[in-house]
């Protein structure tokens, strides 16, 4: 079981177990999160996404170094895809973060996407709460920018970095629109590998065409993580965006949106669970299915009938 006091005091084992409870969708997780909630709300979350091979882990590693120089306690959530066939996953992001492996001010957790729709975003967001309560000042969430559920995670970040590389065939036009739109800051990593000029022009053009900046036009920062280039600039830009969020009111606005969505999702989940329970217990569903198959009833009427029954509990 989780000893909340220990977790709040910074016990690594407790934090790690709490995240497992969330990932495993343990029955008691909501009770746990409920208890942790008063101790959250003090963390800056940075989303880092981009195509495979863009150097996201190295960038996370390098930004962690920047954060540690400010003596901030860092949490890292690194998400890798779960195999749809076996349900297993290979989580290898730690490899690039060896420098911080023994730093007690850094907590690294690898997560598989586990393939459930929306579940990933929720698990990640809840893991953020655990690390927030655990005492982290800044949390980096790193995911491959493919698939909707991974993009959804980024909506929970205060600042989202989209990482691109000039060499490896990243062309702005071919990158999924969704991923470009969530960027608060564009990072051109491995900037030593190829011509960055074209890439910058393409991004600028794309930004010119979109009008929804709300006063923040995403800047483009060039980095070479292997040579430590551009990292102080990137770090400062993250802080600038943070300040913008706070002064412009975007922070509160985002927070409201997120909370609203969270409550709505929780509600939907609860209703869904109740519904499933009810349907599986009284057998009415099966009777209706039979009549639909026999063409004595249509699916729409059946659904309306079941809803009425459900609401009249």
């Amino acid at each position: 079981m989780i000893d909340i006091d220990k977790l709040l005091a910074g016990d690594r084992r407790m934090a790690a177990r709490a995240i497992s409870m969330i990932e495993d969708e343990d029955e008691d997780r909501q009770k746990l999160l409920s208890e942790l909630f008063p101790h959250t709300g003090n963390v800056l979350t940075i989303g880092i996404t981009g195509s495979p091979g863009a150097g996201k882990s190295s960038l996370t590693d390098a930004l962690t170094r920047q954060a540690r120089q400010q003596d901030l306690k860092v949490g890292i959530i690194a998400v890798d895809p779960t195999s749809p066939i076996s349900g297993g996953a290979l989580l290898g992001d730690r490899i690039r973060m060896q420098e911080h492996a023994l730093d007690r001010g850094v907590f690294i957790r690898s997560m598989g996407t586990r393939g459930c729709l929306g579940g990933l975003a929720r698990a990640t967001k809840d893991a953020v709460k655990v690390l927030d309560a655990f005492g982290c000042n800044i949390i980096f969430i790193e995911t491959v920018g493919v698939g909707q559920s991974e993009l959804d995670i980024m909506h929970y970040a205060d600042t989202t970095l989209v990482v691109l590389t000039p060499g490896a065939g990243d062309h702005v036009q071919t990158i999924k629109a969704g991923i470009m739109e969530i960027a608060n800051i564009f990072v051109i990593n491995k900037a030593d590998l190829g011509n960055t000029g074209k890439m910058i022009t393409d991004i600028e053009q794309m930004l010119d065409m979109s009008s929804h900046h709300n006063g923040w036009r995403p800047p483009i920062i060039k980095t070479v993580t292997t040579e430590e280039k551009g990292l102080p600039e990137l770090w400062n830009m993250i802080l600038t965006h943070k300040e913008y969020n706070e002064t412009s009111g975007a922070q509160k606005e985002n927070e409201r949106k997120r909370v609203q969505q969270e409550v709505q999702e929780l509600l939907e989940e609860k209703i869904q669970n109740q519904l499933k329970l009810k349907l599986s217990s009284n057998g009415n569903m099966w009777k209706l299915v039979e009549s639909i198959v026999e063409r004595n009833m249509d699916p729409y009427a059946a659904a309306n009938k079941l809803l009425k029954e459900f609401l009249s509990i």
């Binding site: 882990s57 190295s58 290898g92 490899i95 690039r96 292997t226 040579e227």
Partner: protein, 554 residues
């Protein structure tokens, strides 16, 4: 062959197939150990395009398919070179003398992991690893002990060192100085192949750019002062051990070779200034014919590319000279005596493939470092092949075999496909950065393991013909745990006795030079002469060069 004759053969094959197809085959996957599918028979039809003079020629003649020397083993047998080293320099020196006394003709030094990774024996990361898989060398003092009583002008020495190759090579040169042997007379090889470290063996220290600079610095220095030294041994051995197929071993190794050639040319060397000193190191695995074809294809590809693409003029630049080691990954812990037989077949393949030198694994190497007894059997295996089997009498004796020639062509063609893909990705360094080689090898290794698990590939004694109540009854070499402490004590004593001002001066000079364009070898040599330790030299360079970081590949 006339087209009439070919037609006749074609007809004959059809007739034969008619009968043959009625016979039921065993339930077995008929493919090479690397998974190349093979036909049930090969005929002149399969090599109808073979142009004898253009594709084979004669030994010692372009394109060298049949061997690099014109008299091959009639002139001199291959060098029987057993890789050895364990404990401290003193124990290894005794093992070297044991091997030389039993007819071994060249030395091959195995270093321990701390030495390979550039850590001194007293570094916390070295704990438990000093002298375990090779000899611990911290400074020139250890190198002097290692070759005590072995005149360096009389032996050729191969040293398996990569990331810190420049330092150990300088220690060898300095040991020569102490013995009164001029560097011009030293013969041997340093492995010095950093590319395959990123690709397969993973014993890297610095990032690729400074690592390649150290290698080209060695090329330049060797050309001027150590002309008989093989400055790099481009190694497929480890690529294969990491799980690659034979074709991948062939293609990736030669691609690395071309990358070194290009690097040398980029720093202004003429290709013929250094290419004659490039040598290769291949694996010899279980599939007898596939291995022989691989060696023949390697020679032909190298010669053709060196001549046609890189414009080499010196015939020596065209030679793919290579050392072979039998496949460590093919040995089994179960029924270890069977490994003697495996090794014998593999060694025979290497000889029939025209190797210049050979290491035969000892049967117990999958369990521990070899005992004297098992090393002796391994060496005797080579002597049996050389003197009893008749395999060394005739040059390239399998040439003309429909199967061998067809397989040689096939391997060349498959390797060319890999070269194209590597080119498309922007070269070897770019492909390493994209994890291309690493992923290809990981996939092959996983496929192989699955095949073994499913018994689609049989490993005798492991997944078939298993001896359930096997009790190991061979003796194993135990490394005395005290040796680690002894080595650490040596080192402590050295640090207190040497002139530490001189040590610091040489390190300062090296650090300055590392940030500039100078050849670093003379600076490293000065450090070494002052008994600066390997770890101190590496740490100094690391400050300037940084460290390579692993890429996740599964």
């Amino acid at each position: 062959m006339s087209s009439d004759k070919l037609k006749e053969i074609k007809q004959g094959k059809e007739n034969w197939l008619e009968k043959r197809s009625q016979m039921k085959d065993r339930d077995f996957k008929f493919e090479t150990v690397s998974g190349l599918p093979v036909n049930d028979i090969y005929t002149p039809e399969d090599i109808k395009d073979l142009d004898y003079m253009k594709d084979l020629g004669f030994p010692g003649q372009y394109p060298y398919t049949r061997g690099v020397q014109s008299n091959m083993y009639r002139g001199r047998l291959w060098t029987m070179r057993q890789f050895a080293g364990f404990g401290t320099a003193r124990e290894s020196n005794e093992r070297f003398k044991f091997l030389l006394n039993r007819g071994q003709t060249g030395l091959s030094v195995a270093f321990d992991m701390p030495t390979i990774m550039g850590y001194d024996s007293d570094h916390p990361r070295s704990l438990g690893e000093v002298g375990r898989v090779g000899v611990a060398i911290d400074s020139l003092a250890d190198m002097e002990t290692l070759f005590d009583g072995i005149p360096l002008e009389q032996v050729s020495t191969s040293m398996t060192t990569n990331a810190p190759a420049s330092i150990l090579w300088c220690m060898y040169i300095a040991t020569g100085e102490k013995q009164g042997v001029a560097s011009e007379k030293l013969r041997g090889t340093i492995q010095n192949d950093i590319l395959k470290e990123y690709i397969a063996q993973k014993s890297w220290i610095f990032p690729p750019k400074p690592s390649m600079r150290l290698i080209t610095d060695i090329f330049k220095y060797a050309k001027q002062y150590v002309p008989k030294w093989n400055s790099v041994s481009i190694s497929g051995y480890h690529i294969r051990e990491a799980g690659s197929t034979a074709v991948q071993e062939l293609a990736f190794t030669l691609a690395d070779g071309f990358a070194y050639v290009e690097a040398g040319m980029e720093v202004g060397l003429d290709v013929d200034d250094f290419a004659p000193r490039l040598s290769f190191f291949f694996n010899s695995h279980n599939d007898f014919f596939e291995e022989i074809a691989k060696y023949r294809a390697a020679r032909r590809i190298w010669a053709r590319r060196m001549k046609e693409k890189y414009g080499a003029k010196d015939p020596k630049s065209l030679l793919c000279r290579f050392h072979t080691q039998t496949a460590g990954c093919s040995l089994t812990a179960q029924q270890p005596e069977n490994n003697i037989v495996r090794t014998a077949f593999q060694a025979l393949a290497a000889v029939l493939g025209g190797t210049q030198s050979l290491h035969t694994n000892s049967m117990d190497e999958v369990l521990a470092l070899p005992t004297e007894k098992s090393v002796q059997i391994a060496l005797r295996t080579q002597q049996l092949i050389a003197y009893e089997t008749g395999a060394a009498n005739v040059m390239d004796p399998l040439a003309g075999s429909y199967y061998i020639e067809s397989l040689t062509d096939k391997m060349e063609a498959e390797a060319e496909k890999y070269f194209e893909e590597i080119e498309r990705r922007g070269g070897v360094l770019a492909s390493i950065d994209q994890n291309y080689f690493q992923q290809e090898i990981a996939d092959a290794a996983y496929r192989f393991q699955k095949d073994v698990d499913k018994k689609e590939k049989i490993v005798v004694g492991v997944n078939e013909f298993v001896d359930e109540d096997e009790e190991l009854d061979i003796e194993l070499l135990k490394i005395d745990p005290e040796l680690e402490q002894a080595q650490v004590d040596h080192l402590k004593e050295l640090r207190s006795k040497r002139d530490n001002n001189r040590v610091n001066d040489t390190l300062d000079a090296l650090k300055k030079a590392a940030s500039g364009p100078d050849n670093l070898i003379p600076y490293i040599l000065d450090c070494v002469r002052a008994y600066t330790t390997q770890g101190e030299i590496i740490d100094t360079m690391r400050e300037v060069f940084g460290e390579y970081k692993e890429k996740p590949t599964f």
